[in-house]
Point group: C2
Chain length 286, copies 2
């Protein structure tokens, strides 16, 4: 279901994702305000009609006006922000976010809020290799998953509004996971893949190899172009789950290494057949 057309949005943090949320919601006729410390980002969003009002300072008026607030901040900034301004929201406000890891924030944020203000976490699994509101693009939602990440403290009403937000933004699929399952899934499907891409890109510095690159290498290293500030924080925020997935992956890699070293062709072929079979489940549904 679409979010009620009279609901008023506040976006805190106008980066790529915050900007894309604002763009999509304003296009659909919702009232959208934004707060961001960067004046240029606010100006760009105003000039391009992504928001109707913006401020580089935290204005109480913005907070009091909002029905739904979306936080698109780095985890530690998000936590500091709620500490400082969390009490200023009116009763009944729903807070949500776009943070890529959940364990370190969800319960902490929920515990800081006064009764009547509810945080329901979400992870829109959309992105680009570029950042900032100038690259905002709401078409990235169409092909992406949106995951609601509730806890036992969430009301059904808030979970439902959060789901509706995913549908309003036009995500391909909306589903839900527990905090723990979410962080394990992210460690394997997203963080480990970024670790691999970075490691592969750093492993060999022969100049001129780029001339011979085929699509395989290009696909594997696309995400080696990485926002180091954000990803290093997210890796550490999910450190245990990530190290666990890195261990499992390393074990798998070493197994293949030994098969090659020992010229064990049957072992190699068995792994390849397993990977071929498993990969079929991950094909895009057309």
């Amino acid at each position: 279901m679409k979010i009620d057309e009279n609901k008023k949005f506040l976006i805190v943090g106008l980066g790529l994702l915050g900007g894309s949320y604002a763009k999509s919601l304003s296009r659909q006729g919702y009232s959208v305000c934004a707060i961001d410390t960067d004046e240029e980002s606010i100006k760009y969003a105003l000039d391009n009609g992504f928001i109707s009002k913006g401020s580089t300072e935290v204005k109480e008026e913005f907070l009091q006006n909002a029905d739904i607030v979306v936080f698109a901040l780095y985890p530690h900034i998000f936590i500091d922000w709620i500490k400082q301004y969390g009490d200023l929201f009116k009763q009944g406000t729903i807070l949500t976010d776009v943070t890529g890891v959940k364990g370190i924030i969800v319960e902490q944020i929920q515990a800081m809020l006064k009764p009547g203000v509810e945080f329901i976490s979400a992870h829109p699994m959309a992105g680009k290799e570029v950042s900032g509101v100038k690259n905002a693009d709401d078409s990235i939602f169409k092909v992406a998953n949106y995951i609601v990440v509730p806890t036992n403290d969430n009301s059904f009403n808030a979970i439902n509004i959060c789901k509706d937000l995913g549908e309003t933004l036009g995500f391909k699929e909306v589903s839900w996971l527990s905090v723990e399952d979410h962080d394990r899934m992210i460690a394997y499907l997203s963080q480990l893949t970024h670790c691999i891409a970075v490691s592969l890109m750093c492993a060999n510095e022969t100049p001129g190899f780029e001339r011979y690159t085929g699509d395989s290498f290009r696909d594997l290293t696309r995400i080696a172009k990485i926002n180091d500030e954000m990803w290093s924080e997210l890796f550490l925020a999910n450190r245990e789950a990530l190290l666990c997935e890195m261990d499992r992956y390393r074990e798998s890699f070493e197994k293949l290494y030994d098969f090659i070293k020992n010229e064990n062709r049957d072992g190699m072929r068995e792994m390849m057949r397993l990977s071929t079979k498993r990969r079929q489940h991950f094909d895009k549904k057309v």
Copy 2:
């Protein structure tokens, strides 16, 4: 330059690549014959106009008629074939191939041929995740690199014809490398990436994860769907270079692992900035 329109081709091995060569050359009006042990493949290629004549047996007439012969076989079959039939070619015949590794075949094949029959090796870096002549598709050449891999024993004339073949087939870029450089490059850019994709796909078997997959994981594992018979042979055929690249990659991965384990954010960020910078050289030129 395009190959002279009167040259007659023989393709030995009508798989995905052999079939795509045949399709492209026949479309352009060249005379193309083919030999393949599989009757269905020959029939399909005849029915679809990829070849004008085909045989499941090695016919002397086919070999005597050919000016340019393309071998699209597994390495060990290629070597056996030349051993058995290499003497049947007429003087002046140019042999070439599509083999993905060069060290184990090029000099060996060259040494087996009689004077006046010359083998000039090439590696068309094109492919698909499906195999067989039924998936032949000459549009894969447009975005791919074609590498001529000469030795000191090759004549300029043969190198030139081999280059012209790459241009005739419509490859995006035609270049050349020594046997040794080629195999090192392939170990890093292609074989290592396939090892990584297979290992990643085999590392975690949680059912249902596919539901949450974003493009990163999908891109990294596209090539985990792999022809185990072909790739296990190619890995072993380039074993030393591949193990060397796997060692370098492992070192890089372990470095990142330790940074995460020790919460060394500066170390992580430095690697990420390096990977971001290096990856830019690999962007597709539009």
